[in-house]
């Protein structure tokens, strides 16, 4: 795992933390379409520090591109948009490998990436690629695949409590100090640290608990002496996403957020599809 450049990323590290930054640093991202929208997405993704970004576009720079695409200029007219954007995009962040793909989009290409962003694609293309790919984001649609793992469901600090004593038993019983609610529930998983005496607890786990806190067979462990903290271990959960072609037909998925305009979200939904038939 490569080190994070703390000077360069300092402000962002405060938002994301090291773990998320390391995960981003392992991602290969494809951004299709290098017009005004695509180049903005590419710029922000490159600045944020993924492993690599590939920008794809088959088209050539025209006069109208210069009005909205900040990294193209007059000298690029008639040349490939992705290739011409490359020097400016790659100078944004030396930690990210940026490359251009002037050829067409196909399934084999898409399968090389963890995240694919389509801009400027026809609805047919969107459906076609959405069906082959685990991970597609476009316009306002996100499909993270059938088995998308959420490591931390609420983003809260893991609950923790200080230990008063532990009874050596099967199942073991942990008594927490009384001055605060420990915030665990049945089925929570926990880990231990700083326990003296019964030090096996510090290195094994996580333990599934019941409240009052039985933690499984520890009758063979050393005697508990004192100290220690018990901390919740976050459990991943899996969420299943529908591909675009299914989601398009599913009215239930259209969640409206404005009770004053009950039908508007449906109208918008159809309008966007209609745009692709023009």
């Amino acid at each position: 795992m490569t080190e994070i450049d703390e000077g360069f990323y300092s402000r962002q590290l405060y938002v994301l933390g090291h773990e998320a930054m390391h995960r981003m640093g392992a991602a290969d991202v494809l951004i299709a379409g290098m017009r005004g929208l695509g180049v903005e997405i590419a710029k922000n993704v490159i600045l944020s520090g993924v492993k690599s970004v590939t920008v794809q576009d088959e088209g050539h720079t025209g006069w109208t591109d210069l009005s909205t695409q900040f990294f193209l200029n007059e000298s690029h007219l008639g040349q490939n948009r992705a290739t011409c954007s490359l020097p400016q995009l790659s100078s944004l962040n030396s930690h990210v490998h940026v490359s251009a793909h002037p050829g067409p989009l196909d399934k084999d290409l898409l399968l090389k990436f963890q995240v694919v962003v389509l801009t400027d694609s026809s609805l047919d293309d969107q459906k076609r690629f959405a069906d082959t790919k685990d991970s597609v984001g476009n316009q306002l649609f996100c499909d993270f695949g059938k088995d998308f793992m959420v490591l931390d469901q609420d983003g809260e600090m893991p609950a923790s409590a200080m230990i008063q004593t532990i009874f050596k038993d099967n199942p073991g019983v942990v008594i927490c100090t009384d001055d605060q609610k420990h915030g665990f529930s049945d089925g929570s998983k926990v880990s231990f640290s700083g326990v003296q005496g019964m030090t096996e607890l510090n290195t094994r786990g996580p333990w599934e608990i019941k409240v009052r806190s039985y933690i499984g067979d520890i009758s063979g462990f050393s005697e508990y002496e004192r100290g220690g903290v018990v901390t919740e271990v976050k459990q991943p959960c899996t969420i299943s996403f529908k591909p675009l072609s299914e989601a398009l037909l599913d009215q239930e998925l259209l969640i409206f957020n404005d009770f004053g305009k009950m039908e508007r979200h449906k109208t918008l939904h159809l309008t966007f599809q209609a745009l692709h038939t023009l």
Binding site: E6, G7, F8, Y9, S10, R11, Q12, L13, Y14, V15, L16, E40, K43, N44, L47, S48, G49, W63, T64, L66, S67, T68, F70, N73, E74, S91, L92, N93, S94, G155, S160, M162, G194, V229
Partner: protein, 463 residues
């Protein structure tokens, strides 16, 4: 006398405007543009639509585009928001843009402020940003000012049609707000609309941001909604000293209590940019954390707490700057109804936006024209007045200087910023208002860094 000065002011303003139009005429030439350059903008301006302003009349004579090209914009701040704003405004067709920023480029800017490269580190932000935009957008002329906003006076700010702020400081926002309010002219209590310069203000922190449109004197100003800003996080001293629970408490303990006591580097104050200083605080905070079984003290958190660093990501700046630039476009062209008037954005959990109408505060100390009252008994000490000015949620002054007129002479009651005057006036803080010779109805003039103008308060004695 007052009335004459307003008239004079108004006359000057009209002269300024006329003069500016004459100057702008020179820039108005769009014939050099390539065919279709402004098509993307003209689509908004040359055809009617269901969402356009009710009074909007589309025109195909390039008149509106020309207006866009002659509109003079001031961007305050060339940081995360400023870089995005300059790019968006220049691509939208604005050509006369000034940018003010007092900072030079730091390595930590490079992962958001996309107009800067490693070779630019140490150079003024405003100048590098202006060079980049001017080199990229033919015909666009960004004028940089490597200065503080306080270095300019009314005559500078009055030349602009719209001002956009991308700042990271509430004090600077309030000062800018106060400056635009001071440019307003009233005749018989009626606001002269030609003296209004709209202020678009953007702000971000991490995944959260806001954008707002302020028409000074007409809609809620920065000081009207001062309560919305979170107070600076200061942990209670007793928690820091005896009952720490969070890693931040341990860092504050090392910073506030241990540093001045142990003086690890002699008689110098803690410097957040000095790695040795941060390391010292970090080590001490870790010791304290271990003592209280607290986890989570890291070098990075230590630096963040000491320097009060504002977390930032590129994409939030892009979203908020886009919203602000859109508002500039709407106001400049009058083609669409502007944001009314406060948008909040948060994409930390899904994507949430909400727009509400912030309301004017009837007795706002910045924009209301209502005399400000101070209610104190004659036995109150000047110290209490000072604390009220700094701690009251709708005033939140930083280092107020209080002067008044006694027996026909100006008298400084307390002033903090000049050392010799502070020493001379410090004894006044312990005196009662009566002892200072102040009477019921006395006018106190208060100056502070949060406003370019002095604020007048009327002292009302309570019993």
């Amino acid at each position: 006398v007052l009335l004459i000065s307003y008239r004079e002011k108004k006359r000057r303003r009209i002269e300024d405007l006329t003069e500016k139009m004459a100057v702008d005429g020179g820039h108005c030439d769009i014939s050099c543009d390539w065919d279709g350059r402004w098509n993307h903008v003209r689509k908004f301006l040359e055809r009617p639509g269901p969402f356009t302003h009710p009074d909007f009349e589309p025109s195909t004579e390039c008149r509106l585009v020309k207006y866009l090209l002659t509109c003079k914009i001031l961007v305050i701040g060339a940081g995360g928001l400023g870089c995005e704003l300059l790019k968006n405004l220049a691509l939208s067709g604005f050509r006369l843009i000034h940018v003010v920023d007092m900072d030079t480029i730091d390595v930590s800017n490079l992962n958001r402020q996309f107009l800067f490269r490693p070779k630019d580190v140490g150079r003024p932000k405003a100048e590098v940003a202006a060079d980049f935009i001017n080199g990229r957008i033919p015909g666009c002329k960004v004028v940089p000012h490597f200065k503080k906003i306080q270095d300019f006076d009314e005559s500078f700010y009055r030349q602009f049609h719209i001002i956009v702020c991308g700042l990271d400081s509430v004090i600077a926002r309030r000062w800018m707000n106060g400056m635009l309010i001071s440019l307003l002219s009233y005749e018989d209590g009626i606001l002269d609309p030609s003296s209004i310069i709209p202020l678009i203000d953007g702000g971000t922190e991490g995944f959260k941001g806001n954008a707002r449109v302020i028409l000074p004197g007409m809609t809620a100003c920065i000081d009207c909604t001062l309560e919305l800003y979170p107070p600076q996080i200061n942990f209670p001293m007793c928690t820091i000293a005896s009952m720490p629970r969070l890693p931040e408490h341990c860092i504050e303990y090392a910073r506030i209590l241990q540093w001045p006591k142990e003086k690890p580097f002699g008689e110098i104050s803690l410097d957040g940019d000095n790695p040795e200083h941060i390391q010292w605080v970090f080590d001490k905070a870790q010791e304290r954390a271990a003592e209280f079984n607290i986890t989570g003290v890291t070098y990075r958190l230590t630096q963040g707490v000491v320097k009060r660093i504002i977390p930032a990501v590129a994409s939030t700046n892009a979203v908020i700057a886009a919203a602000c630039a859109t508002e500039v476009f709407k106001i400049a062209t009058s083609a669409y109804i502007p944001l009314n008037n406060y948008l909040v954005f948060n994409d930390v959990d899904g994507l949430y936006t909400y727009t509400f109408e912030a309301e004017r505060k009837e007795n706002c100390s910045a924009c209301s024209q209502v005399p400000q009252d101070l209610q104190f008994p004659p036995s109150a000490k000047l110290q209490e007045v000072l604390e009220y000015l700094t701690e009251n949620a709708s005033l939140q002054m930083k280092s107020p200087a209080i002067t008044t007129t006694l027996e026909g002479k100006n008298k400084t009651l307390y002033l903090q910023s000049v050392k010799s005057i502070e020493e001379r006036t410090r004894p006044n803080l312990c005196k009662t208002l009566k002892e200072l010779g102040l009477s019921d109805g006395q006018e106190l003039a208060v100056a502070d860094v949060t406003t370019p103008q002095t604020v007048l308060f009327k002292l009302n004695f309570t019993t």
